[in-house]
Amino acid sequence: MIDADNLSRKFGDVTAVENLTFHIGEGEVFGLLGPNGAGKTTAVRMLCCLIAKTGGEGRVAGYEIGNEADSLKIRQIIGLIPENVGLYNELGTYRNLDFYARLYGRSEQQRKESIGRLLKLLGLWERRDKPVGTFSKGMKQKVAIARALVHDPEILFLDEPTANLDPEAAKTVRDFILHLKEEEKTIFINTHNLDEAQKLCDRIGILKTHLLRTGTAGELKESLWGNKTVIQLEKIDDSVITAVKNHTPRSVVIEDHRLVIDVADAQRENPGLVEAIVAAGGQIQFVQELNPTLEDVYLKVVRETA
């Protein structure tokens, strides 16, 4: 549905995005993680045909970005929630949405139906005539979401959709994105909220000018950190170490009274490890599975490139 092949953008001598390559399938939720200034917004703007690429290729739903005729077709089938909501504060909610729906060529009947459905779904129907300038940030973000969906787009681009929102408003927005995921919309999310990325995204890319890693949250953790089991013993002697090393070919690190052992599948491997240690005379105090968080992975990847 969305393809980038060495997509790049330079601003003068500054490279914002370089050699961005990925494929996002239909109905997939893809999250782009990265620190401020990593090029996330530039990537979204290129894919939405808002700014030109300076290198590489990109296709959205088969249409080529950078091709003037295709750009209009791409913008017709996508919905964008930019980092700043950018609503017309003087106009009412309904009028804001109606304006955009008309630009997408929706008929009056279609506009009535889609605006009514979205406003009711987002709890804004009662406030449809109130100027959006009087709304809280959370409510404005809801209007921006409705605006991006008013023409029932196939693909959604969300640039920091919960940035600057209070926890309750952020949860509402996340829940709505999950609702869209159930509707099998293809969604591209820029975020630096790792928890959000883990909850919402099927796959995650870590961007810092270059795309450093892509994969599911589990794959990223596995590829960079692996799963570990920590076994604390009353004391560790040579017979215990030998028993563990005979049991697993993977890395074993000894820290005071603890063994930190790499495992592929903790639930399957831990009982055998425990049996081997006990058989070697080891007295186990506790066994703990050590899972890295997405934050650990993210920080490791980003710091490696610093």
């Binding site: 601003f11 808002l50 209009l72 017709q76 950018g86 017309y88 009028r95 630009l103």
Partner: protein, 248 residues
């Protein structure tokens, strides 16, 4: 270029304009002053000059023609208030990005915004001109014995010079808006467009140049050329890549 897209944008601009009371009033006041205040001044002069001699009447008609030139000055200044808000205001509220993400071309957005900035001042000026002509005719009919308006001079002013100078103002505002960071600065800089028109008026008043039909037609041609040059400049300024990456 799809006119329907441009009109959707223009109608949104007009909706916002109706809600911006400050801008709305500023667009109304000037034509109201010219259309009611100046004919009333003629009336006062007439009453004080009774009985009116042919020389006084000829002088008054020269003054009335000069007064009509005020509508050109108005048309060059009033659109800047709306055009500046339309572009710099939208830049400040960061609402250009979602607009640019819709299936509209840069030209359609530019045209829509230009129509939105042009229509209210043009309507105000044209309505003002009708009142102006009606009042002048009312006050002068007895003295002249015929209706002074409409005539060729006011027709050229209203149908050529007023729209052309309003277009100049909008195009200048677009170019200024690319660099201005706040509405007030854009409006102040944009209002400088009045200076050449005011200069023409002053030159007309001191009889350095005549404000007659041939001269007004030449002036219309010059402004048309300026508008064509400014159109290409403003089109080059209003590019979505430039707007999102270079406009500050």
């Amino acid at each position: 270029m799809r006119l329907t897209q441009a009109w959707i944008i223009a109608s949104k601009e007009l909706s916002i304009f109706r809600r911006k009371k400050g801008i709305f009033i500023s667009v109304i006041i000037f034509p109201l002053f010219v259309s009611v205040g100046l004919p009333y001044l003629i009336h006062v002069i007439l009453v004080r000059s009774m009985p009116v001699t042919p020389d006084t009447l000829a002088g008054l008609l020269t003054v009335i023609n000069a007064f009509a030139f005020f509508f050109i000055i108005g048309s060059a200044s009033l659109p800047t208030a709306i055009a500046s808000y339309s572009i710099v205001g939208e830049k400040q509220e960061q609402s250009l990005e979602p607009l640019l993400a819709t299936p509209t071309t840069d030209g359609e957005i530019l045209l829509g915004k230009s129509i939105g900035a042009l229509l209210p001042p043009l309507v105000a000026i044209w309505v003002g001109a009708v009142i102006f002509m009606g009042m002048i005719d009312y006050y002068l009919l007895g003295e002249l014995g015929y209706l002074y308006y409409p005539n060729a001079v006011i027709a050229i002013i209203m149908l050529l010079l007023v729209p052309l100078s309003a277009i100049t103002a909008v195009e200048v505002s677009i170019i200024i808006s690319a660099r201005a960071n706040d509405v007030r600065t854009a409006q102040q800089l944009g209002s400088l467009i009045v200076i050449p028109f005011a200069l023409i008026y002053v030159l007309g008043e001191i009889n350095a140049i005549p404000l007659n039909v041939p001269y007004l037609l030449i002036l219309s041609g010059i402004i048309l050329l300026v508008d064509i040059v400014l159109f290409y400049l403003s089109k080059a300024t209003f590019q979505r890549d430039e707007i999102l990456t270079k406009w500050r």
